[in-house]
Symmetry: C2
Subunit: 114 residues, 2 copies
DNA sequence: TCAATATCTCAAAAGAAATTGAAATGAAAG
DNA sequence: CTTTCATTTCAATTTCTTTTGAGATATTGA
């Protein structure tokens, strides 16, 4: 359940591309039901082969998952990986240096999660 | 103070490289005093020109800052940018979908910050 | 000033990733 | 079983990133 450096690098590399970052944010807001590949392509104005390439990269990195539904393939965000990455990025901050943790906590507090 | 997509992409790209991710984690644990370039190079076993290239990328992305100190140049993590990135990654999670926020909060709670 | 130390710059080469368009696959509806 | 729709695969091209090594620059101490 806890992420290692290799997984974190893969996730960061996947997220560091404009189209892919947009896909992930779109899927995060879409929730667990996710969206069909076609709907993602429409939303981001990306051609099918290009979209397929990026969805694949995201799936390799564990950031999204897919399931077939009729003729479509529906993608959804893998929330565990996303939160694992956040945890990884914050892992070091508490070794006597709360400078990262404190603002990150403020950010979390500002977001009014249930 | 709040990060936009362009800054987030720059930070993610900077962090998605093994040497650079290690530099950042090293500097986070080193705290605000930071470390001289030479000490970073020794810790990561990286040649000077290569190290300089990566430190530059990190500085462009706003993840580290530098100041000269005698003949050394001392680098430290820019904690604001790091927490801004974390806040950006979590920004979407609360639009009715606490699935990301909840585990991220658990991760934060597990880290025993003051 | 000279030598030593610490770091940076630059250009070339190598390596990795993204985009494109055409063709292939797979599932479903008629 | 054939057609249609949704998506993937592939290879070519282009673009971006990383590494390397040699040389330049800045700072200190003798």
């Amino acid at each position: 359940m806890s992420m290692d450096e290799t997984q974190a690098l893969a996730a960061l590399a996947a997220l560091s591309q404009e189209t892919r970052l947009r896909i992930v944010r779109l899927l995060v807001t879409a929730g667990p039901e996710g969206l069909a590949a076609g709907a993602i392509g429409d939303a981001l104005d990306a051609a099918s082969s290009r979209l397929s390439f990026h969805l694949n990269q995201l799936e390799q990195a564990g950031l999204v998952q897919s399931r077939r539904e009729g003729r479509s393939i529906r993608y959804s965000a893998t929330f565990d990986t996303l939160s694992g990455l956040i945890a990884f990025l914050m892992r070091d901050c508490c070794q006597g240096h709360p400078e990262v943790c404190a603002p990150a906590m403020a950010a979390l507090a500002a977001c009014d999660c249930p």
